[in-house]
């Protein structure tokens, strides 16, 4: 089957907005992603070094039942939804997303490096694009909007240096 085209960004945006609205209405909170990753991290750490997680001031916040959390189940849902949508559109395949001018291996190094930087940034800001920019944006949180502007600023400032990766 041929890959189908992406949905209009405005339609997808309205869908996303309504999903968020439903989350507010039902649970009184928005969406998120990086918190679930943090909890998964702590869960892994707990298995190997539970005394260490308990003694670290940051990990300790998550140490009790790290996986029994709203965000964790939400991310499992994201996996299901993304998988089903990708399947419906015929977009399930093992590929490496990149521009034409970079090798696969270098792209994966960049992905790893970018992930590490983003992981630290997301923890410092207490959220990521979904948890802080989208949710905070919709609730008109000051920090959410400041954060969003800074994300775009940081990304646009870096873009030129990594242009070989994408274009």
């Amino acid at each position: 089957m041929k890959e189908s085209k992406f949905m209009s960004p405005y339609v997808a945006g309205v869908g996303l907005g309504l999903t968020m609205l439903a989350a507010f209405m039902l649970m009184g909170r928005g969406l998120g992603a990086s918190g679930a990753m943090m909890r998964f991290d702590v869960w892994l750490l707990n298995m190997f070094a539970s005394t260490h997680t308990a003694s670290n001031a940051y990990f300790a916040k998550y140490a009790a039942n790290p996986l029994s959390n709203w965000l964790v189940f939400e991310i499992i849902g994201v996996m299901i939804g993304g998988f089903l949508s990708g399947a419906l559109a015929g977009r399930l395949k093992f590929v490496i997303g990149k521009g034409p001018r970079i090798s696969n291996r270098n792209r994966l190094y960049f992905a790893l490096g970018g992930g590490i930087i983003m992981g630290m940034g997301a923890r410092l800001a207490r959220g990521c694009t979904s948890g802080l920019a989208l949710t905070g944006g919709a609730t008109l949180s000051l920090g959410g909007w400041v954060f969003m502007l800074c994300v775009f600023a940081g990304a646009y400032a870096t873009a030129w240096f990594v242009r070989k990766q994408w274009i």
Binding site: M1, S68, F73, I76, I80, F83, L84, A87, L88, G90, L92
Partner: protein, 317 residues
């Protein structure tokens, strides 16, 4: 301060310290038993339908795994026994009213039968293998002529084995969550569904995969239906049954059951297989793995939740 007046020794952690007596061994045993029952059933059924050369994986390859699977399952069960040296006593008696007795005797028959059954297909699966001992070779040749009889026996015993994995739990009247007649059929269907998934996982033949994907879809729909009935039955029953159902409808098992068993283990594979059926390309291994995992988690949750559901003294929790 909360004051407790204990009027009975039952379910009292101070007197009866082990309320959660079963760990990982029993769920694993129930899962592997159901899986083996499913594999044997499909193997025998499609053999009788004359499909042994169409559905090669199901009829010939899959039974090779059964003795191993049953062996591991029985090993887990054996680990759970407190008096390991006395397990043979199960065979000194036949008690028609005891599912333990039923299960022990069924396993007594089905285990050797599965070994003999897979032995007759050894040459098909491993063409280069040659039996060096003339007596054994002659015995296998003789067995091949008896395959039809063995297949009928396998269908009968695999159904009993599949049922028994659930009935074993329903026999514990003292646990409200297990005290339902739906557990037998539910575990039977779930076991067959994991069997179909296992075959899907191994099969390289397009037609066979289509067939088992379709079988799996039907089984999943039945399973969902049974789960709905399980809860409807509880909710229409006595107070303790309602409370047992509440463990899954808002209580501590809610998220894990609906996420991993009903969601990832049943609905997602069903949707994926349905899409595949409609021509969407999906790697068939994904729904198959999810079904297997969902079946395993189902048994863990049912065993654990049953031990948490009580007739008396809800306040002890």
């Amino acid at each position: 301060m909360q004051e407790l007046t204990i009027t009975s020794g039952r379910m009292n952690p101070g007197i009866d310290p082990v309320l959660h007596a079963w760990g990982w061994e029993i769920p694993v045993y129930l899962f592997l038993g159901g899986l083996a029952a499913g594999l044997l059933f499909f193997s025998a059924y499609f053999y009788l339908k004359g499909k042994e050369n169409t559905f090669v994986t199901a009829v010939k390859t899959a039974p090779m795994f059964v003795p191993v699977i049953l062996g591991i399952g029985l090993g887990a069960l054996f680990l759970d026994l407190s008096h390991k040296l006395y397990f043979w006593r199960l065979y000194t008696t036949i008690r028609l009213e005891s599912p333990m007795s039923w299960g022990a005797w069924t396993l007594m028959f089905i285990f050797p039968l599965s070994v003999l059954w897979s032995a007759t297909f050894l040459k098909d699966v491993f063409p280069s293998w040659e039996c060096k001992i003339p007596f054994v070779a002659r015995f296998i040749e003789w067995l091949k002529k008896k395959r039809t009889w063995m297949a009928y026996g396998l269908i009968l015993f695999s159904a009993v084995l599949g049922m028994y994995t659930g009935i074993l739990l329903s026999a514990f009247n003292a646990r409200p969550f297990w005290n339902t007649s739906i557990l037998g059929p539910l575990f039977l269907i779930s076991g067959f569904s994991t069997g179909a998934a296992f075959i899907l996982l191994m099969s390289k033949d397009e037609e066979e995969r289509k067939m088992f994907s379709r079988i799996d879809m039907v089984l999943i729909v039945i399973e969902l239906f049974l789960i709905v009935h399980l809860f409807m039955g509880f909710l229409a029953s006595t107070q303790v049954h309602v409370e047992a159902a509440q463990l899954f409808l808002g209580g501590p098992y809610t998220a894990v059951f609906w996420t991993f068993v009903a969601g990832l283990g049943l609905v997602v594979p069903l949707l994926a297989e349905f899409m595949e059926f409609r021509g969407v390309h999906i790697p068939v291994k994904i729904p198959a793995l999810l079904v297997l995992l969902g079946g395993l988690i189902l048994r863990f949750i049912v065993v654990d939740a049953g031990q948490s559901s009580r007739w008396l003294y809800k306040f002890m929790q």
